[in-house]
Subunit: 150 residues, 2 copies
DNA sequence: TAATGTTTAATTGTGTGCAATCAAATTGAC
DNA sequence: GTCAATTTGATTGCACACAATTAAACATTA
């Protein structure tokens, strides 16, 4: 009854499994959820964790640089960074050489978070339980696509 | 100066490019953004579009079934579905045989949306500009991982 | 049938994402 | 130097996501 031949319901391109976007969307949320219990111990959300990965590596970055690396704009980053500033984990100050820029720096408490976070990557890999080769192959493909589309 | 040997900043597992989660997270948002201008013409968001993909195929689904297929809970779906109901695109009614369930059905305007949406899959593939073989390979890998983790 | 437990949506609260707009600072052409 | 254009963050408003709680309906079992 529901198979009206004039409808595109049976168009295979319309089925979730045949799209690239849906598994990407669903997997992204599932993996973020896999991080959640580990990050809860650090009182961090997943996007906040990404900001710290960058700050632990670079010590200081402007909002613009964070946005470029994470593909996020200031409408997302500003409130997120203000929450981290309130916890005294990061500092926010204008660049004296260009007052339009805001430099984000690590405060001691934020620096110390790293010690507690350092096991997370291994724990996630263990949790996902993927063969190392599959993990690597997928990672390379996704990174290549990311760079191509960026 | 920033290379304190006691820090894990140089731990390669801590770098964005070496993680699986980050490209997944960034790609998911980038591809959703690629849909946005196409969906704007239909006055749909990306998650709303996913709901319609399922409804066009199945005509009727409960909130629970939608949630299982999309990996979303009622806290996300209920307000989304109420917005679609307000536009008279879908109907929401209790299942008389089990009053706990809410059945989501297509209204005529929602059914007709499909005609305008049917070119979207092809347009997205064209927009992403990926070789068909790469697209297929990645799709299969992501779906396999999704099923494994679900 | 009465008590208990389970299933299902809805609600509430917090935190992203992102488009659109605004405002301040800087840069460039003249 | 001055005006216009550009850069950069901040703000606002809307729509997810999701944890946690609540409430109603159903199922089970004594």
């Amino acid at each position: 009854m529901s198979n009206d031949p004039s409808s595109n319901a049976s168009n295979p391109l319309f089925q979730l499994e045949n799209q690239l976007c849906f598994p990407l969307y669903a997997l992204s949320r599932m993996i973020t959820k896999a991080y959640q219990p580990l990050l809860l111990e650090l009182d961090l959300t997943y996007p906040q964790y990404l900001v710290f990965l960058l700050l632990w590596e670079h010590q200081e970055l402007t909002v613009k640089e964070l946005g470029e690396k994470l593909f996020l704009d200031s409408g997302t980053l500003t409130p997120l960074l203000k929450r981290l500033e309130q916890k005294q984990w990061i500092s926010r100050r204008r660049d004296p050489r260009d007052e339009r820029s805001v430099i984000i720096g690590l405060l001691p408490a934020g620096q110390q978070l790293q010690a507690r976070a350092c096991q997370i990557p291994e724990e996630i890999i263990a949790k996902l339980n993927m063969p190392q080769a599959d993990f690597e192959a997928l990672r390379l493909q996704l990174n290549a696509l990311l760079i191509q589309l960026a």
